[in-house]
Symmetry: C2
Subunit: 200 residues, 2 copies
């Protein structure tokens, strides 16, 4: 059994499943998880609903895979940010850019991870929420250290954290690369607003 052949097979499975995953993410974003049927997904892929089960285990697996794929993009980055010995402001600047990059590059999946995670079943749900909670706690710690070091204003850290995290949400719905400003401009504008405000 040649390794080349095996490799090719694996790669092919991957791309097919990836296609289904992308279609599902787009549909879940448009109609929500519950309102999206396996027939909807199959139609868009161009096969019968039953054929999907040659590639995936269940509808819920699609949702879980999408949510964890996004989660796993943030987790290692946060680990690195915490390890670095930079200023609080450059850490926050980095995280703002990270959120904008991931959201603009994977808008549909980010939307699903943000809005449809409730439909994940246990025990995966707890795992997902713990991952999210851990990320938020790390972010909050960075803010609190920044306040103590005098780099940030003494605004309630919970309010700061969630206001900042929420403020990116519009990107997943509204940002269209062709219509809106280029990503770099968006990054500068949002950073300016969050760090220094809109007031002149």
């Amino acid at each position: 059994m040649p390794l080349i052949g095996l490799k090719l097979k694996v790669v092919n499975q991957r791309t097919r499943k990836t296609e289904i995953l992308e279609v599902a993410a787009e549909l879940f974003r448009e109609k929500g998880y519950s309102a999206s049927t396996m027939r909807d997904i199959a139609d868009r892929v161009g096969i019968e609903a039953a054929s999907l089960y040659n590639h995936i285990k269940s509808k819920e697996e699609l949702l879980t895979d999408i949510c964890f794929a996004i989660g796993n993009m943030f987790v290692p980055e946060m680990r690195q940010v915490i390890a670095n010995k930079e200023s609080t402001l450059s850490k926050i600047q980095y995280l703002i850019n990270l959120h904008i990059d991931i959201t603009t590059q994977h808008a549909a999946m980010v939307s699903v991870a943000n809005n449809e995670w409730r439909h994940i079943k246990e025990p995966k749900l707890s795992e997902f929420l713990q991952m999210r909670d851990n990320y938020e706690t790390c972010f909050k710690d960075i803010i609190e250290i920044g306040i103590r070091k005098g780099e940030l204003k003494n605004i309630d850290s919970t309010t700061s954290l969630y206001t900042i995290l929420s403020s990116f949400r519009w990107l997943q719905y509204w940002y269209k690369p062709d219509r809106d400003s280029p990503v770099d401009q968006i990054k500068r504008d949002i950073s300016e607003l969050l760090l220094k405000g809109i007031k002149k």
Copy 2:
């Protein structure tokens, strides 16, 4: 036919329907519109599913009523803000407070209006989106006038608008009156952040 009697009847219908509406809003927030069944709603009200139809026309009517109830809280306020001859900053300050007030007072309904409106059917859907679009355009105009008058920084108005509007979203999920800071403190913190930034 005495008017008093008629009045009493109407009032009774109102409170019963209001109860169903509130239960529905809470459920739609928790599980989403599609995943919430009429049996779920009925269970929580304490009656049978079929009995709901003595008070409402359809499941979709619940959703539509919720979304328009919230929309109608914002529309007249925006009309007033535009009519007033105050500074841009105090207009924006007023709108920030308005969003925080409505969101903290009607968290479930705001959440539904923000996240479940896609399931409204035409022609009501277009009506709702036009109302929202009109509100956003008015808000954007205020920002653009502020920039021209030199009150605001020259940040892209679309980016400013949606970043500000998104930044309140966490309140509908996270804000618990007993746990978090009082509303007045939240208003001060969020205003400080959006107007002048977190940087010291």
